[in-house]
């Protein structure tokens, strides 16, 4: 009966949804197709199935009651209609409740508190009263500065009082204010009378506007109402023609969190209609003292016109927007979601930003085109907007004007702009200042958002809304031009006059035009897009002069991997197209040569490198091109501009102190090589070894599989591996041992006992070794871990994997005499080493093949962690590799990372902003993990968080160990994880400020790749000649200055320092934490655990470790005793024990004289490189601000 009552209502009109859940009321349409077709109003589509589902309820209801009577214990509450519907809705529409709940939760968080809304109302009221009492008058002089740079004298300005009450605009009027700093936009309209009919010309309008603003500001300052408030001017959207007043009220309830921005507008009727159409000229060349040929038509000033129109149409637009949004919580929330999304991506900043205002208008547009229904939920609004953004093209122009605008006129409008979205009046292009690249970027991001939403295997919420992804970390290379004279020169000589008038001499867009035009042409397919990186300009006090802005520019380049590394730019054939060839030659200058190619063609071509160049070199081809173009066309020398690319990559280069030419090897090696370029040599050698192993004759069992498991086989070894291993007496000396796992063919004869099996394995390996020697002339040694083989200067460790060994390790006999197979730490590590790692290694290798930046990114990440004194025992290397792989697999940006440096920045972001407690990092290689499995895993992870390590990483090859295989409770421990998060945040901060700042250069590697020396209690200096230096580019130890490096080769497989630290940790980790740099660090730094550990405690048999009796029957742990122990254990290995303060003092004393005699000794120093480096280092050391040190030391203290 319920059904019958409802149904007709359903068909007649939209479901009058009860207002209590208006937000989620309409069932949402899942398929995008239907949403994009305006004919199917999806708001109505869905409710039909809903009542069908509701049918269940009435049928189940009575019976359940019966059931209830039967079995009271179960006590199942029959679901109410609302509940049923909500449950169904969430399940069908959002994949999971989770997404919906998260969105709901976030919206709640964003909800403005009523105290703010109250304040805004009362403020507006008082401001209205204030404007009412303003009087007409002549502005004689003012003690404020007019916030406009091209102003005449302020005298002679006649102020006429506003005839219209001030009104709210923007976010506050649409009810979508967004914290943390709430900006309330208020518009005050100049009356028509204050504008002259000729004021449209030559920026006169803008001057009037600025004067008007100044006048109002001055009166406000005089008013007792605003006496306490803070006044400052700022440019709206970095537009120097749009000064606004920024007022921060001191009212108690809103202190600091709220800001009022005052805009001055003018009525649309102030000027003749059509005065500001895009093809009109409103700034005459003569205004800038230029001459213009009378014959020629005046250049159109479409951007300036749009700028004025923005003010003129503001109130009309505002009315429409308000009408559309007023009282529609769903639209408001939808817009809020979109705003969060946009702001996280940093696409709305500055002059060329895609402002949220455009999105608000777009929602109205979609609504008026019946694509978005009135009752769509907030989620639906956001989703539809993304969908439509991705699938529509605004370059041809779209319009909001209710009167159908002629398509011809629209396209005529559109030709004047990159992107065209006409407003309600049909006059203003809302996207006038949005360059094509930014618009494309927004579209790509929108498409990505939809894709993420559609991916059932993903919790897309944090990716879309929570993750901060500033634009600088989304571009591969950055071009930064900040040199004032260079910028002026560019504007003077290279910017077309047309642009100058169009932008009213504002430098920024002109620079942007000039540069993008040039780079786009020169780089062509090599770049995917060139994006402006803007920072919002800062406000200035009303008494000081308005700053000149737009005198520097930053561009971000996103590379196109398919073409970016091509070494050749081929021009037209000289004989077929002489004009084209001439043009090509003109464009490229002297770099262009006539070349003859293998196919017989003779063409103009520019060559940037050779095909054999190392990948790191090829990555810089774009940089080379950009610098060349800037020099050739704009006369900018490379020292005048900053091209940020691969600055940090230095850290995995080969150290300059190790001379490659001293090595005896057939492999061609370059002194200027790096870990990435050296890996292929190792892999080639390994392939050859594998061939030889496969080809061995007369082995009892065939070798069926060979797989390399060391990081170098997947391009993840940060220390350069050189072919330097050699035989010395009975040892093999090598600093890297590459692990290889082999498997033999099936045989039933393997023993059933662990020891016997191992013995037999060993015998097999010896056999293989002997065969390798006799058949392939390779030297070998047998060790307890496996077979050490020396080949072409590389050392391999061959291990034999056998499934039976794993089974025997897992075997347990229960009390009932039943054999079971249980995972234990030992079996787990064996399984990882022999079975899972080879597979993951293969997957990571192929990841590197598809994303060439993967390997080098891992190298940077590993180097960074190592230099922060984190070794394998504190932070497993595999965790780094897998986290970076996660970064590359996860689609958090429309384009994959192409530059390792960007990859590294993103890795830092991942470390800095991840919620390690709540997130499980899942690497779904080959997509083999099914949806249900993921859900199960997540469920288990959520419900049983304690059983997982602090950092949980899972791949699709370790399902049964999911999350527990790569990391453990100890590495990384909760403390280390927190420490790393803090370090990453700090590093990120340094990077960000250096990138976004106008004056700073990009960070030097030494700022990031050297730990602070603060916070450690004790440093054990090891004998320098017993620890070999790393072959990677070393930026120095935090504790001691550089000493003579040594590159001794230790015996293969004997990593002494790692082993001794492992021992120390196993015995003393309750009392101290140990840190060292696994890449050639020569100090062992110690942080004692908090004093409570060393306090006297009562005698307990099980808690007596390292205790000594003290007074009144208690015992305590003495640091002195522990230090004695360390000394004993490190006998003949340590140089001395010292506190960091002592070392610091020494370092200081050590370096002081050098600085005094710098000048005289310069020649001396340049000859010995280590010293020179040293001096550089210590100046750098002074450079980091004091804050950094503070943070670091507190970070370390927090470790305890």
């Amino acid at each position: 009966m319920l059904k019958n009552k409802r149904k007709p209502g359903m068909f007649v009109r939209a479901p009058k949804k009860p207002s209590k859940n208006a937000e989620d009321s309409p069932a949402e349409d899942h398929s995008d197709q239907e949403q994009s077709t305006p004919s199917s109003d999806d708001g109505f589509d869905e409710p039909k199935p809903t009542p069908a589902k509701k049918d269940q309820t009435p049928t189940t209801k009575p019976k359940k009651n019966k059931f209830k009577q039967k079995d009271e214990t179960k006590n199942v509450k029959p679901p109410t209609l609302e509940e049923m519907k909500e449950l169904r809705d969430t399940q069908n529409l959002f994949h999971s409740n989770l997404f919906k709940l998260q969105v709901k939760e976030m919206l709640q968080e964003l909800q403005l508190k009523s105290k703010y809304t109250d304040f805004i109302d009362s403020w507006l009221e008082s401001f209205t009263a204030f404007t009412r009492q303003l009087k007409d008058g002549l502005m004689e002089r003012t003690h404020l500065e007019v916030p406009l740079n091209i102003s005449q004298k302020p005298t002679g300005f006649v102020f006429s009082k506003p005839t219209r009450e001030p009104y709210l605009i923007g976010a506050v009027s649409t009810g979508t204010l967004l914290g943390p700093k709430i900006v309330v936009d208020v518009a005050l309209e100049m009356p028509k009378e204050s504008l002259h009919k000729d004021d449209y010309l030559n920026l006169r309008y803008d001057q009037k506007r600025a004067l008007y603003l100044t006048y109002v500001t001055e009166r406000m300052k005089e008013s007792p109402n605003y006496a306490e408030d803070q006044f400052s001017f700022n440019y709206y959207a970095n537009n120097p023609l749009k000064p606004v007043l920024e007022l921060t009220p001191v009212a108690k309830q809103v202190t600091k969190h709220l800001q009022v921005r005052l805009f001055i507008t003018a009525p649309l009727s102030s000027f003749k209609p059509g005065r500001f159409v895009p093809w009109n000229n409103n700034i005459r060349p003569s205004f800038f003292g230029d001459e213009w040929d009378e014959e020629e038509p005046l250049p159109s000033t479409q951007h300036y016109n749009a700028n004025v129109l923005f003010d003129l149409t503001l109130s009309e637009n505002q009315d429409y927007l308000e009408k559309a949004f007023k009282g529609r919580r769903n639209f408001q929330d939808g817009l809020l979601l979109l705003k969060v999304w946009l702001r996280q991506r940093g696409l709305d900043i500055g002059f060329s930003g895609f402002s949220a205002h455009i999105l608000a208008a777009f929602i109205v547009y979609l609504n008026s085109h019946r694509i978005l229904h009135q009752s769509s939920s907030s989620y639906q609004v956001a989703r539809t907007v993304w969908n439509q953004l991705a699938n529509t093209d605004w370059t041809k122009g779209i319009s909001l004007a209710p009167a159908a605008i002629q398509t011809e006129e629209l396209s005529k409008m559109a030709t004047h702009y990159d992107v065209c979205f006409l407003d309600f009046t049909g006059q203003l292009n809302l996207c006038a200042n949005v360059p094509l690249s930014v618009y494309q970027r927004v579209r790509e991001e929108a498409k990505l958002a939809v894709d993420l939403l559609n991916d059932m295997k993903l919790n897309s919420f944090p990716l879309i809304f929570m993750q901060k992804c500033p634009l600088y970390s989304r571009v591969d290379n950055i071009l930064k031009i900040t040199n004032y004279s260079c910028v002026n020169q560019m504007l003077m000589l290279h910017s077309q006059p047309r642009l100058k008038y169009d932008y009213a001499k504002y430098g920024y867009p002109q620079l942007f035009q000039v540069l993008t035009e040039l780079l786009q042409k020169g780089l062509a397919e090599r770049v995917h897009s060139i994006l402006p990186l803007e920072t919002a300009c800062t406000a200035w006090p009303v008494e000081s002069k308005a700053p000149v802005i737009g005198k520097h520019i930053q561009l971000g380049l996103i590379l196109q991997p398919d073409h970016a590394y091509e070494v050749l730019n081929k021009g037209p054939a000289a004989n077929e197209d002489p004009e084209g060839a001439e043009e090509f030659r003109r464009f490229w200058g002297e770099k262009s040569n006539l070349r003859r190619f293998q196919d017989g063609s003779i063409t103009e071509a520019v060559v940037w490198g050779t095909a054999q160049d190392a990948p790191s070199k090829k990555r810089l081809i774009v940089r080379q091109i950009v610098l060349h173009l800037l020099e050739h066309h704009l006369q900018l020398e490379s020292k005048d501009v900053q091209y940020i690319a691969a600055e940090l990559d230095q850290v995995y280069h080969l150290t300059p102190w190790f001379k490659v030419n001293k090595l005896k090897t057939k492999i061609p090696l370059d002194q200027d090589t790096d870990a990435e370029a050296l890996s292929p040599h190792v892999i080639r050698c390994y392939d050859e070894l594998a061939r030889q192993l496969h080809g061995l004759n007369d082995l009892p069992l065939e070798i069926v599989s060979i797989s390399g498991t060391s990081p170098v086989f997947r391009y993840c070894e940060p220390q350069p591996v050189l072919p330097q291993a050699r035989m010395a007496e009975k040892y093999i000396l090598a600093n890297h041992v590459q692990r290889v796992v082999i498997q033999l063919g099936q045989s039933g004869k393997w023993p059933n006992e662990l020891d016997a099996l191992r013995a037999l394995k060993l015998a097999f390996l010896i056999e293989i070794g002997e065969k390798l020697e006799s058949q392939c002339h390779l030297k070998w040694l047998i060790c307890i871990e496996g077979l050490l083989v020396l080949k072409q200067g590389y050392c391999f460790l061959i291990q034999l994997a056998h499934t039976k060994e794993l089974a025997l390790l897992k075997k347990k006999v229960t009390e009932r005499g039943i054999t079971t197979y249980v995972d234990n730490p030992e079996s787990r590590s064996l399984e990882r080493q022999h079975y899972i790692l080879p597979k993951v290694s293969g997957a990571l290798h192929s990841l590197h093949q598809t994303h060439s930046a993967y390997g080098p990114t891992v190298l940077l990440a590993k180097r960074w962690l190592a230099t922060q004194l984190l070794d394998e025992g504190l932070w497993p290397e595999m965790a780094t590799e897998l986290l970076v792989a996660h970064l590359f697999q996860q689609r958090c940006a429309p384009q994959a990372i192409e530059a390792p440096q960007t990859g590294f920045i993103r890795f830092l972001q991942l470390l800095a902003h991840s919620d390690f407690n709540g997130e499980l990092f899942l690497l779904n290689f080959n997509n083999s993990w099914q949806e249900q499995q993921i859900a199960d895993l997540e469920h288990s992870y959520r419900s049983d968080r304690q059983s997982y390590p602090p950092l949980a990483v899972a791949t699709s090859y370790d399902m049964q160990h999911a999350g527990r295989l790569w990391t453990s409770d100890e590495s990384p421990s909760q403390r280390v994880l927190g420490h790393v998060t803090r370090l990453a945040r700090h590093s990120l901060e340094i990077i960000e400020t250096s990138i976004m700042s106008k004056d700073l250069r990009f960070v030097r590697p030494a700022q990031l790749f050297r730990a602070s020396n603060e916070g450690y209690d004790l440093v054990i200096q090891l004998k320098p000649d017993l620890v070999p230096n790393t072959l990677s580019f070393d930026l120095g130890s935090p504790f001691v200055s550089f000493s003579q490096p040594n590159y001794l080769l230790p015996p293969a497989g004997a990593d002494r320092l790692a082993r001794i630290v492992e021992q120390l940790r196993s015995a003393y980790s309750d009392f101290a934490a140990f840190f060292y740099n696994p890449h050639g660090g020569k100090e062992l730094a110690i942080v004692w655990r908090p004093p409570s550990v060393f306090a006297p405690k009562p005698f307990k048999v099980v808690e007596l470790q390292a205790c000594t009796p003290c007074d009144n029957g208690k015992v305590q742990v003495l640091k002195e005793t522990l230090i004695e122990d360390f000394k004993l254990l490190l006998k003949d290995f340590y140089l001395r024990f010292a506190t960091p303060e002592e070392l610091k003092r020494e370092q200081h004393e050590h370096q002081k004289p050098k600085r005094y005699f710098n000048a005289s000794k310069q020649a001396d120093e340049s000859s010995t490189k280590p010293k020179k480096q040293n001096v550089q280092k210590d100046t750098e050391q002074e450079a980091p601000p004091k804050k950094k040190r503070l943070i670091k030391s507190s970070a370390l203290k927090a470790l305890n």
Partner: protein, 266 residues
């Protein structure tokens, strides 16, 4: 000599003039449950033995008090702890090493009188008359470890393996013989092998599980699931319950996330 809670506290010195040294707590081993390996009256119990002290060092020191039958370690005092300690290190051909932690030790003397002598030692001096430590540490130790335990000599290893395998084969053969013969041993137990007439099935958990599962699955396959109305009703209800449960669960997760303030985008 310091005493505490019934323990004699003695310093453990690794060099003659060391100022701060570890204290070892000693007493006669005494528990209610007797362990045949730690006979009452002859066993000395040591607490807080530093990680670097090995069996033979203690052997050397305490042999002064009388001849020693055995020295054994454990992570903590307790019944099975000693076997646990030696479990992982007993295997040949593996690279497992003893734990490197603070531990307890049991010293079994041959004579009961040695206990008191040992308790009266005053200090455990791990150095010889010339003041040198009696065990190797640091570089010296690592070199030795590397040469002796890490690297193997192929020839020697082969011999060792052959010997071990011969022993293993013998054991295997004996076991299979016993299984085949089906004779009862002294206690009356018969070994049942995988082969022969009286072959039992393998006592494996997976196999047992399969057998145990067989019965219910057979029953289940005969059952009609979607036949009676009450079944349909129930399954529907089940469905609702599940959705509800999931909803509740997600809500809980959100609650957790909320606590960690995860919903502030900026």
């Amino acid at each position: 000599m310091a005493k505490q809670e019934g323990y004699v506290v003695v310093p453990l010195r690794t060099k003659p003039n060391s100022k701060s040294s570890h204290s070892v707590f000693m007493r006669e081993h005494f528990i209610h449950l007797m362990d045949p390996n730690k006979p009452k009256g002859r066993t000395l119990f040591l607490l807080n033995v530093p990680p670097y002290v090995a069996e033979d060092s203690l052997n050397t020191v305490f042999s002064r008090a009388g001849s020693i039958q055995a020295v054994e370690f454990a992570v903590r005092p307790g019944k099975e702890e000693t076997t646990k300690w030696y479990e992982s290190t007993g295997e040949t051909f593996s690279y497992a090493r003893p734990f490197f932690i603070f531990k307890v030790a049991y010293i079994v003397f041959e004579k009961a009188s040695s206990i008191n002598k040992a308790l009266a030692l005053g200090s455990i001096d791990l150095f010889n008359t010339s003041g040198e430590c009696i065990f190797k540490t640091g570089m010296e130790l690592w070199h030795e470890e590397y040469d002796k335990n890490y690297l193997l000599e192929a020839y020697k290893a082969k011999v060792q393996i052959r010997k071990y395998m011969a022993g293993y084969d013998k054991r295997e053969r004996a076991a299979s013989e016993a299984a085949k013969s089906g004779k009862s041993d002294a206690d009356g137990w018969v070994t049942v092998g995988n082969e022969g007439r009286n072959a039992g099935f393998k006592q494996k958990a997976s196999l047992m599980g399969r057998l145990e599962q067989k019965v219910p699955t057979e029953n289940k396959s005969k059952e009609l699931k979607n036949f009676y109305t009450f079944q349909i009703r129930e399954s529907k209800m089940q469905n609702i319950m599940e959705i509800r449960k999931k909803f509740e669960e997600d809500k809980r997760k959100i609650e957790l996330l909320k606590q960690s303030r995860r919903f502030k985008p900026f």
